[in-house]
Amino acid sequence: MSKTKMTAWVVFAFVIIAFAVSVALKGALVTVGAFLTLFIFSFLYKDNPYYKFAEHLFVGVSAAYWMCMGFWGTMVPNLFGKLYPPMVGGVLPALKDNPAEPFMIIPLILGILLLMRLAPNAGWISRWALAFIVGTTAGLNLVRYLRSDFIQQINNTTFSLYISSAAGFDFGQTMSNIVIFIGVLCGLIYFFFSKEHKGAFGAGARVGIIVLMVTFGASFGYTVMARISLLVGRMQFLFGDWLGMIK
């Protein structure tokens, strides 16, 4: 047996023993959670069989989780329950007496069309369902974005550049408003595709890039905190709930 293989077996034996001891001392539930946490964290060192185990388990469990949620949360109440309520009477008695909604046949047909791609020669028909989905998205988004992100943003950015308060001219606020106004304009210039970034236009685009860089740096720095608290939460679980070293 090679040396690396030996080490691997020693580590494996150690993990098994530690797991058994932990189950005996702390109970199975918290132990499972703690070991899975450690397995995931071990990825930071390098890829290893323990991470592989956690990863593969996670993939399997999560895929089934969403299938079940989709089945009981959407398929049963919203499709069967609306199409033919008596059918779900056994599992959702509350819906039994609702009137049927015949229009729900549309998603049923589209869903079946989608599954047709499993059939060898009728795969193309699944595109009808897809066309429906994409058409819906396009139609909804077209108006929604125009409304809330385009027109509403004009409204939000239309403010006075000259601010005076009770104490007189407010230099700080005026500067801030000017920076926002110019920042938005130059940021937009950067996004022009069909005009070369040259001359005055190019200068505007340069300012635009600078504004974007400030945005990216600031957003990044700002998020660090939230990410750290996630880790604190995990560490509290490991050292507090599991090892009992906190408090």
Binding site: G33, F53, V61, T74, I133, T136, V179, G187, A218, V224
Partner: protein, 227 residues
Amino acid sequence: MKRTVPLAITFIVGTVLVLADFIPHKPFGNLGDDFSLYFDIIAVFAFLLGGGNLIRVHLTKINRKRPDWQFSIVTLVGFVVMLAAGIFKISNPEGIQGDVAAIGSLFNDLYMYIFTPLQASMFALLAFFVGSASYRAFRAKNIEATILLIAAFIILLGRTPFGLWLTEGLTGDLAFLQIPNLANWVMDVPNLAGQRAIMIGIALGVISMSLRVILGVERTYLGQDSD
């Protein structure tokens, strides 16, 4: 036929939904919500495709003894156990009529003690990666990178008592230069301007993309007439 019908469906559905947005009257007013509900249902049918594909991928891996095939067994076992627990509502305190994720059911236990710790741990990896990414990327290599670095640095410093301590001497008219104040200003002013410019660009992109899809100019998602 294979290509025209889908394009026609997209065109009709898209146009009707655009118009429906301006008509509150029945049945148009609810059309957007109705179609979104249809989409949710179709998505559940797609879960069957996904689950089937998952099983196929991992069975192939096991069959052909590809590298790490043993772990595919873990995936399949996890999948099947969770699926059975959920679909048959195993050990659900209220039986088959209970909520699928009712407390005390096997499904909820698997969720609470396997799914949740795994998810939280993956999420927590981010704390480490923000560290390594900022070490590598925040270098004053050129003007853009320097600005990125300065903005991030001000915000980070503004979050620690260090920031205040360094600049406590600046009072009166210069108080706005105190790092915590500066950090707030960077967040509220240039950051806002940049975000807004990006948002407007995205809005225009979405609008244009949606029009292209409705008009049938953008059609890669439908594939070619290959089969």
